[in-house]
């Protein structure tokens, strides 16, 4: 029973971390149709910014504010500014992906050049147990992560469905030229998409960084690939799909660790993801898996 509860609770925690990142990634991909492979680098940068700006505070609300802000700003520069410039120059889908790869490399290795091979650490030893079910303890930081993830999902859903902004975003994603013809500014929509996804990226980053405790220049990159894969499996542009993908990764990982062996935890999750890709390559929620028009 304890093991089952461990799998469920910590599976939820892992899934929450991946979910915030995956939703940010899929939202931006869904609205601008740009595969942003610099997402991991931006994630790592936000942890660094939070570490320095708040002198390694582990107050989660402050961290999310600072991290989210940094992520939004950086994402705006990268996405709206640089990628936008390439788009206006007429670059195609693959070239844009390479642009984001290049930016990601430059950001990551600039951090590495400044930082060196040494890690930084947040002091997380004074945590308090916030939730205890049949002997399994979740501390306040982990519980907060789960709550923030759920809240973010709900907010995104409400924004996309209920507000005019959300409507404009969905319309721009489906058919930019027609939307433009209806008087919706694509530049504004695009900027907002990058802002929101960047904020989610930053929030995910600080929660992951503080949760794990130590971080370095390469922390975000591998974490992001998993989150990105979860997003792809769920269907690009579908936040609920990203959530489901993240749940798969988190839960399957913990379950595999308990049932098979810890060494197989990440692989099992990936194998399930690839299985989904084989069976339903467009993703769980998407209708089609073709390249769509890039929003310029």
């Amino acid at each position: 029973m304890t093991m089952l509860m461990t799998i469920i609770l910590f599976g939820l925690y892992s899934s929450a971390l991946y979910a915030i990142g995956a939703v940010g990634f899929t939202l931006q991909f869904g609205i601008t149709n740009v595969l942003n492979l610099a997402f991991g680098a931006i994630l790592t940068s936000c942890i660094f910014v939070e570490y320095y700006a708040t002198t390694h505070s582990t107050n989660l609300w402050l961290a999310m504010l600072v991290g989210g802000g940094a992520g939004a700003l950086l994402s705006l520069i990268v996405g709206f500014g640089i990628v936008g410039a390439f788009l206006r120059r007429g670059a195609g889908g693959f070239n844009i992906a390479m642009v984001t790869i290049a930016l990601g490399l430059m950001i990551t290795y600039t951090l590495a050049a400044i930082q060196g091979p040494f890690l930084f650490a947040f002091n997380v030893s004074n945590t308090t147990t916030a939730l205890s079910i049949s002997g399994v303890n979740l501390d306040s930081q982990q519980l907060t992560t789960i709550i923030v993830a759920i809240a973010a999902m709900v907010v995104i859903h409400l924004v996309l469905r209920m507000t005019k902004l959300g409507l404009a975003m969905r319309a721009t994603a489906d058919d930019p030229s027609l939307t433009r013809g209806c008087g919706v500014s694509p530049a504004r929509t695009r900027a907002l998409a990058w802002l929101i996804s960047g904020a989610l990226c930053g929030i995910c980053g600080v929660l992951y960084g503080i949760g794990v405790g130590t971080f370095g220049p390469f922390t975000g990159a591998d974490f992001f690939i998993t989150a990105g894969a979860a997003a792809v499996v769920g269907g690009i542009g579908k936040p609920y799909g990203a959530m489901i993908g993240a749940l798969i990764v988190g839960m399957v990982g913990q379950a595999a660790s308990a049932i098979i062996s810890p060494a197989y935890a990440p692989i099992s999750a990936y194998v399930i993801l690839v299985g989904f890709l084989i069976l339903r390559p467009q993703g769980i929620f998407s209708a089609f898996a073709a390249q769509r028009e890039l929003v310029a």
Partner: protein, 426 residues
């Protein structure tokens, strides 16, 4: 414009530029013909990548040694310097780096390294180049080393597991052992020794887990440990994994005494563990089994001021008792003393003197003392920060295992040779 000529043009332009660059780079490197050249000691270790910290340990030990040697007059009138050569932690990069190291330096006289996991790829190259190499690399294959120029003062990683078992059996009251080792080269290398040693000494390994690196949560692994009722946990992993694992362990109320390996050495690991457990718990519950290096004594009283005087090195307070810097300091000093004893800086000549300077009559503890004794015509026995070195027929020296305080590196207990022998099943 016809296409073929633009292609030719492109080729010519780029080709010329490339050749010019190559010419400039190589032209300048071979220029020095004056007699005031410096002798190079190469520090061939990972400086980037996951083990990037260890390279700096080696370098930070080399610099004070070289400063002391230069202050005492250098070798044959030439000053020494430490050259960083990054192996980047993987064989495909280490091999070109080794080749470059040999070919690009005009006055390479010796090498020290920390190339764990890469020795099979790099040692053959260095051996063919007749480069004297003192290594900290732990590859078990080199327990039966056949390269004449390769010397090692620390045993292979396979021995470390036996030391863990010996410590638990003879220096703690615990008999039920949990083993949590990360899924990487260095950590897994400890497992066979631990398993074998446990069998020989009557310990039970109640939980043996190979954990993947850098996961956000190790809660299930911790639960399994708790369910197995392990009394003591042996572990090695990278710092990030350790941070999460130890935090999960504490959070689940499953914290037991912890025995770490030499792979847990370093500021990053200490930072991560302290962040997870808090410094008092960490120091109380964690002990590190590692090669003995002095934290006091005649050799140390020369080393510590030299390190403190060396410019450009950060975090000296943790380095001064650190295994990596201390061993590297010893290695450079040994190479220099061997060169003095042989009256030559040529590898093929002074290589034979590496064991000789540990077998002589007069015991010395520093380069200056050794130089003075050699000048008087004596044979020396250099006893540095590692204690007495005795090379066996495979150019390995067994060394002494000690259980250290993880933060101060002070030796809490040493593991006697008799206990080690029993763990090994002799």
């Amino acid at each position: 414009m016809p296409r073929s000529s633009s292609l030719l043009r492109a080729f010519f332009a780029v080709g010329l530029a490339f050749l010019a660059a190559v010419g400039v780079l190589f032209g300048t490197s071979g220029a020095a013909a004056s007699s005031s050249y410096k002798l190079e000691i190469a520090v061939f270790s990972p400086f980037t990548g996951p083990n990037g910290e260890y390279g700096y340990f080696n370098y930070d030990g080399c610099v004070p040694a070289v400063n002391l040697i230069n202050k005492a007059g250098g070798i044959e009138g030439h000053q020494l310097f430490c050259q960083i050569v990054d192996d980047r932690g993987d064989p495909a990069d280490a091999v070109p780096a080794a080749q470059n190291m040999i070919s690009a330096s005009s006055h390479l006289v010796g090498e020290i390294d920390g190339n764990s996991g890469l020795l099979s790829a790099t040692v053959p190259i260095l051996c063919k180049a007749k480069l004297v190499e003192l290594s900290v690399g732990g590859d078990p294959a080199y327990d039966k080393n056949t390269c004449a120029y390769f010397w090692r003062t620390t045993p292979g990683d396979d021995q470390a597991g036996y030391a863990l078992a010996a410590y638990i059996r003879y220096d703690t009251p615990y008999r039920k052992v949990g083993a949590v080792f990360a899924d990487d080269v260095a950590a897994q290398g400890n497992v066979p020794g631990l398993v074998g040693g446990a069998k020989n000494l009557g310990l039970t390994i109640v939980s043996q887990q190979k954990v993947p690196l850098d996961q956000p949560s190790y809660a299930t692994e911790v639960q399994q440990l708790k369910a197995s009722h392990a009394q003591v946990i042996t572990t090695e992993s990278d710092p990030q994994t350790a941070g999460v694992f130890l935090a999960n362990l504490k959070q689940a109320g499953a914290l037991t005494p912890l025995v770490g390996t030499s792979g847990t050495v370093g500021n990053d690991y200490n930072k991560a563990a302290t962040a997870a457990l808090g410094s008092s718990l960490y120091v109380k519950d964690f002990v590190r089994i590692i090669q003995f290096t002095a934290t006091s004594g005649p050799a140390y009283s020369v080393w510590a001021p030299a390190l403190n005087a060396a410019p450009g090195i950060k975090d000296k307070s943790s380095l001064v008792t650190g295994f990596g810097p201390e061993v590297s300091y010893d290695h450079v000093t040994m190479e220099a003393l061997a060169m003095l004893a042989a009256h030559s800086t040529v590898g093929s000549v002074y290589n034979a003197y590496i064991p000789k300077i540990t077998q002589g009559k007069v015991i010395v503890h520093s380069f200056a003392q050794g130089e003075a004794a050699l000048a008087k015509g004596e044979t020396i026995d250099f006893v540095g920060l590692e204690g007495q070195v005795t090379f066996n027929q495979f150019h390995n020296s067994a060394g002494i295992w000690s259980a250290d305080n993880p933060v101060t590196n002070a030796t809490e207990k040493t593991i006697s040779a008799a206990d080690m022998a029993k763990a090994l099943g002799h």
